[in-house]
């Protein structure tokens, strides 16, 4: 599993009569972790959905090429803001949901699902119904389900924004450890989250929006909250995000 890099070209999105962005181009290097920031309504989540090939109601276009020239389909895992656990499967069934839904039945899949569940520290909850879990636990199951797919490209749309602040910090460390080496694109509205996890930071801003690259800290990840680099750059990043509103 060598993760491919992604190259996005001619990304355009029109919302009604208004062009949110047009002819965007950007590169996501193989095995890199990119955080995509922007204010609400900037189109950052839509851009991610377009890369994932998911349904969008608005007029959109995007050309996507991979560094190894092969299709992204089948090598991609998706993680959303909601945990998306299905209530009719127990926790273990939710971890191996991809296999269940595709109709692949094997003992090795069950063993692997248990392994993933152990990685996120929920081995003993395998037979619980999702409704019995806390929000943080549910998002950990969602992370285990993402890992189970064993995809080399992971796209995440504000994956940790629905959990409390402390749980979020714990999930950062877990996600960083488990998703290392993959090509990760993560949409977030939290500057701190981006500064802790990202190797590259892109801000979607302007009207129509452009992608503005911002320097991420050079220190090893996941960066501590009191990391001096994180502290100083947070101010700059917030200012960068604010500027969008002033320009409009």
């Amino acid at each position: 599993m060598t993760p491919p890099g992604l190259h996005v070209r001619n990304a355009s999105l029109t919302f009604g009569q208004r062009a949110l962005f047009s002819k965007l181009e950007c590169e996501f290097p193989a095995s890199s972790w990119t955080c995509l920031l922007g204010r609400s309504g900037s189109g950052k989540s839509s851009l991610l959905r377009m890369i994932a090939g998911l349904h969008l109601p608005d007029n959109h276009h995007l050309d996507l090429t991979t560094s190894d020239g092969e299709a992204l389909r089948g090598r991609l895992a998706w993680m959303a803001q909601q945990d998306l656990l299905v209530p009719w499967e127990r926790v273990l069934g939710n971890v191996m949901l991809g296999a269940r839904w595709r109709g692949e039945r094997s003992a090795s899949a069950v063993a692997r699902a248990r392994e993933m569940l152990a990685l996120v520290g929920l081995a003993e909850r395998a037979d619980a119904w999702p409704a019995a879990l806390s929000g943080g636990q549910r998002q950990r199951v969602s992370l285990a389900r993402t890992l189970f797919e064993d995809a080399s490209v992971v796209l995440m749309d504000e994956p940790f924004s629905a959990v409390d602040a402390i749980t979020r910090l714990e999930l950062h460390e877990l996600a960083y450890r488990l998703l290392a080496e993959r090509t990760v694109i993560m949409v977030t509205h939290d500057p701190l989250e981006a500064l802790r996890l990202a190797e590259r930071i892109l801000v979607l801003k302007g009207d129509p929006a452009r992608l503005v690259p911002l320097a991420a800290p050079e220190t090893p990840r996941p960066r501590a909250l009191d990391d001096a680099e994180v502290q100083t750059r947070q101010t700059a990043l917030v200012a960068e995000l604010r500027e969008t509103a002033d320009a409009q």
């Binding site: 998911l54 299905v86 209530p87």
Partner: protein, 257 residues
């Protein structure tokens, strides 16, 4: 468990006892003649005295109801699944379905008798027709309202449309479908009895008409009691089956979906 379970059963029983007492009270106070409203005790006596006759007719009605329920649910499910799967079908069949609901079932009954005769067939068909719509419409609604997030997941998992329909949309539609099935269970006896009123030689509806003509009002009420008891049993039976089919969907747990 036991201390919770007993009052749950006792409360509806108490309501029944109070209703029967009120019934007796109305008769005692107003002195209404027994060929208009028989006393509860007279109905009870008729239930025992005519038990063979009641059972003979009840079997027919039960077969009609169950046949209609199974047929109507299957047909409704197939309709809901086809509507969800095929867009052109939605455009043509959906308006037709809605229009069909404007036809009063009572008006349809004599026509069905004319076409299909006086046997079990038209009654089962009546029950099917009355059950079909709530199952088809709640089923289709449920299939249509699958949360987008699950469809996104299904897409990134690489599922084809058939897999999405049966493995994602169908289980997601179960709670909605369940309310349609409960409605169907309580509506099924109506269809069968209407069919029997219009023309039959057997069944509880036929027995009621017959007893009415002979002024055997106590037998008529006894038949009604049997019908009500069966309708209640059917409702709770379907409810129990649905609970078995959705173990995750217990009261107080997982109500968010």
């Amino acid at each position: 468990m036991r201390s919770e379970y007993l009052p749950r059963l006792l409360r509806p029983l108490l309501a029944v006892v109070i209703l029967i007492a009120l019934w007796q009270l109305v008769i005692t106070v107003t002195g209404v003649p027994r060929y208009i409203l028989p006393a509860p005790l007279a109905v009870g006596r008729a239930l025992i005295a005519e038990r063979a006759l009641l059972a003979h007719h009840a079997i027919t009605t039960v077969i009609e109801i169950l046949g209609g329920l199974i047929g109507g649910v299957l047909l409704g499910l197939v309709t809901a699944l086809s509507l969800a799967r095929f867009r052109p079908l939605r455009r043509t069949l959906l308006p037709l379905l809605l229009v069909s609901q404007a036809i009063p079932l009572f008006a349809l009954a004599p026509i069905l008798m004319l076409w299909l005769g006086y046997g079990l067939g038209p009654k089962i068909l009546m029950a099917m027709i009355i059950i079909y719509f709530p199952v088809a419409s709640t089923g289709y609604d449920g299939l249509r309202q699958t949360p987008q997030g699950w469809l996104d997941l299904a897409r990134t998992f690489g599922l084809n449309r058939r897999q999405v329909l049966f493995r994602v949309q169908l289980p997601a539609a179960l709670p909605s479908l369940a309310s349609g099935l409960r409605m169907a269970a309580s509506a099924a006896p109506i269809g069968a009895v209407i069919g029997e009123w219009v023309g039959a030689s057997r069944g509880l509806g036929f027995l009621m008409l017959n007893a009415n003509a002979r002024l055997q009002i106590d037998v008529m009420f006894a038949a009604l009691v049997v019908l009500v008891v069966f309708a209640i049993l059917l409702y709770f039976g379907v409810d129990a089956l649905l609970r078995l089919a959705m173990p995750w969907h217990r009261d107080g747990v997982a109500t968010e979906y």
